[in-house]
């Protein structure tokens, strides 16, 4: 690096950071229900009371709370930064007590303005089959195109799902991700609120994506949405989620649980683009269950947050099931993206694919943790894992912890990892063509993730590229 490394680095850091100003605004709070600060049995009962939970759900929450208290913080393998989450200072439930509206006209003005600024109604008009927009603990808006409803598609929030559709909801709820899976899945089980319940009937292929947008508006708050998506035999659906929060001085917690169930021959694609502000602890558990000939794909872009821990997984339970995780993580200074994938092969001839690309800038830290499990009794299983890291300047940190447990010898696994840098030589070359340092950096980053960006739906990939490019060009000089 040049002698004035510090300057270059700072510029570069700002340069590569994408446009987070878009989500950095908030409105005064207007909550009818507030569970208060801290987490006790009373907090859980308060939430259950407000939501008028059936008894089995209340019991489920109580068990979740106990499990949460019992489980130690996983700092024996994860970062000690987790110790900085002060569970006594967080508010676990905030809502205005309104049911989600089916028309944007009925949504409170400040909530409407929020989602308009985030472009949600516009996207809905342009290309979405249904939208749920969550504001703090509950959905403010939820709607699905009429023809889908006629076809039997269910797209509601979790509260409505468990009450109105118990017969479909309950058999799978908490089954893909048991309460005790980890400390944060237990926390979510205790205080969950919001999130989507989706059911796609047999053989129905939903052409346009369904989208959920999770918005945090309040300070000292924890958002704990719970999503369950079931695609019945031969059904297909793509679900997209976006997330933002304003930048507060204090830490915000986002801890979701997402369970996907793909029945025989079904296909679920779950696309996430998170753009959290850098005070958010984002600790999310996501897993899909793929039955015979079914496919579950997680396409995940993690930008922002103070700490993200997220390892989407697929349990391939039926023969010829397929699981895939495609992920992009961008860790800027003050951020730690601890992401990865879990592929559990539980039937013959199952196939999994993991492609992970991380970019670390400045003091930013990217960690990849992968787990691939193929037991001895199976045959004909395949896994491909690729993880590539791009480092921008010498302070960045990246580490890879792949764990591939393959027993038996009738399987094919492949693992590749690479670490590369935006070299001085590459930058000089691009700058000599008249491209500014920031734009050159942006090009290099976009080039690095280019093949993965094309996996995102068009509307998202365009947005992704544009955000990265614009922000980098605008921030230098």
């Amino acid at each position: 690096m040049s002698p004035d490394t510090a300057t270059v680095d700072r510029e570069t850091q700002t340069a590569i950071d994408i446009d987070r100003t878009k989500g950095d605004f908030s409105f005064p709070e207007n909550h009818k229900y507030d569970a208060g600060v801290g987490l006790t049995k009373n907090t859980v009962d308060y939430i259950s009371d407000v939501k008028n939970d059936p008894d089995w759900v209340r019991a489920f929450r109580h068990k979740g709370l106990e499990t949460f208290f019992d489980k130690p913080m996983p700092t024996h393998w994860a970062t000690e930064d987790l110790e900085n989450i002060d569970f006594d200072k967080i508010r676990y439930y905030l809502s205005d007590g309104q049911k989600p509206k089916r028309s944007w006209d009925d949504v409170p003005p400040e909530v409407l303005e929020t989602f308009e600024r985030l472009g949600v109604p516009e996207q809905e008009r342009a290309f979405l089959a249904g939208v749920e927009a969550q504001y703090d603990s509950e959905a403010a808006y939820s709607n699905v195109k009429e023809e889908l409803e006629k076809d039997g598609v269910i797209f509601v929030n979790s509260t409505e799902g468990l009450k109105e559709h118990e017969e479909i909801f309950r058999p799978w709820f908490g089954k893909v991700i048991p309460t005790g899976d980890n400390k944060f899945s237990a926390l979510n089980s205790a205080v969950f609120s919001g999130g989507s319940f989706i059911y796609i009937p047999k053989g129905l292929k939903v052409k346009h994506p369904l989208q959920a947008y999770f918005r945090i508006n309040s300070e000292n708050f924890g958002q704990f949405e719970r999503t369950l998506i079931i695609a019945d035999e031969g059904a297909e659906v793509m679900y997209m989620e976006g997330c933002t929060a304003p930048k507060f001085e204090t830490a915000t917690l986002h801890s979701a649980v997402v369970e996907l169930v793909a029945m025989k021959g079904a296909k679920i694609q779950y696309v996430t683009v998170q753009n959290w502000s850098s005070n958010v602890f984002n600790l999310v558990t996501k897993r899909g269950l793929a039955h015979e000939d079914a496919e579950v794909r997680w396409i995940d872009c993690n930008i922002g947050s103070r700490l993200t821990m997220k390892y989407p997984g697929v349990v391939m339970k039926g023969e010829r099931a397929r699981g895939e995780v495609i992920s992009i993580a961008l860790a800027n200074s003050g951020q730690h993206q601890d992401t990865g994938a879990k592929m559990i092969h539980a039937a013959n001839n199952t196939t999994s694919n993991v492609v992970s690309k991380s970019i670390s800038v400045g003091e930013g830290r990217a960690t990849y943790r992968g787990q691939v499990h193929i037991p001895k009794r199976l045959k004909g299983c395949k896994n491909n894992t690729e993880c590539d890291a791009l480092m921008i300047n010498a302070n960045s940190k990246t580490d890879t912890y792949p764990a591939i447990t393959v027993r038996g010898n009738q399987h094919v696994t492949q693992h590749e990892a690479s670490v590369s840098q935006v070299s001085e030589e590459m930058l000089f070359y691009m700058q000599q063509r008249g491209i500014s340092e920031a734009a050159a950096m942006s090009l290099a980053v976009n080039g690095f993730i280019n093949d993965l960006v094309s996996e995102f739906p068009m509307e998202y990939s365009v947005e992704l590229k544009r955000l990265i490019e614009l922000e980098m060009e605008g921030s230098v000089g």
Partner: protein, 251 residues
């Protein structure tokens, strides 16, 4: 109007490489610099374009009267300096079309968008001159390119960016005769009263196809001899041994 280098001294990690170099390249002329390995030819190209590994200790470089040594690399490029690299860098994942487009976009005023249709039309016409396959636009910049493809790509970029002064650093190295002819065709197509060229080469071969107006010999960080194109032929015949003997030094 010219690119003027005056008494230029530059070092890398405290080691002086350029030691008082003087050179003037008026628009409309092609100047060739020849010289043995280690004489500082490539350093000169890097210093003019602003590589920050090199420290300019004294002297000046002016582009049409304006000092450029304080400017950033990208600014110098937009001012009209183009360097065709001896070893062009690879830019993985970025297509040639997008790369050149970004370079052209960087030359437009803020808020103005490059006309994509006109851009491709222009790009394809230049590629035709260089006999490049259309598929080339979708390939990542220099990634997996052969030596000849890389050099052709340099010339393509040069043609697209329409610079005022072109510096070609050992563009002939690693080229077979057919590729050399194509590269020369590109350069000759760009010859214009509005453009100056500095061609750095170790061998006379390239100058068979790109006829220089002036030939300079560089040694130990200075221009030690200048002449017309016959000097290149002379060097080809006798080599650089004269530098040691000092025979031609003051000729």
């Amino acid at each position: 109007m010219s690119l003027v280098i005056k008494d230029l001294h530059a070092s890398i990690e405290e080691t002086p490489i350029l030691k008082g170099l003087n050179l003037e390249i008026p628009k409309g002329e092609i100047h060739a610099i020849m010289g043995p390995n280690g004489s500082g030819k490539s350093t000169l190209s890097k210093v003019i374009s602003g590589h920050d590994d090199y420290e300019v200790t004294s002297g000046s470089v002016t582009l049409d009267g304006e000092e450029i040594l304080e400017k950033d690399v990208d600014e110098r490029s937009r001012d009209g300096i183009f360097l065709a690299f001896q070893y062009p860098a690879e830019v993985p994942g970025v297509s040639n079309a997008n790369f050149i487009r970004a370079a052209l976009q960087a030359r437009l005023p803020k808020g103005e968008e490059l006309d994509a249709v006109a851009y491709y039309k222009n790009l394809y016409s230049k590629m035709d001159v260089l006999e490049m396959d259309r598929k080339f636009t979708a390939r990542a910049v220099n990634e997996g390119f052969s030596g000849g493809e890389k050099k052709r790509n340099e010339i393509l970029q040069m043609m697209m960016l329409d610079p005022k002064y072109c510096i070609l650093d050992e563009t002939d190295s690693g080229l077979d005769i057919d590729a050399l002819k194509i590269v020369a065709k590109g350069v000759n197509a760009m010859r214009s009263p509005e453009r100056g060229f500095l061609i750095i080469t170790h061998y006379q071969r390239l100058l068979d196809y790109i006829e220089p107006d002036h030939v300079h010999v560089m040694s130990d960080g200075q221009i030690v001899k200048s002449g017309d194109k016959s000097l290149a032929l002379e060097l080809e015949e006798h080599g650089y041994d004269f530098l040691k003997e000092g025979e031609l030094t003051n000729a």
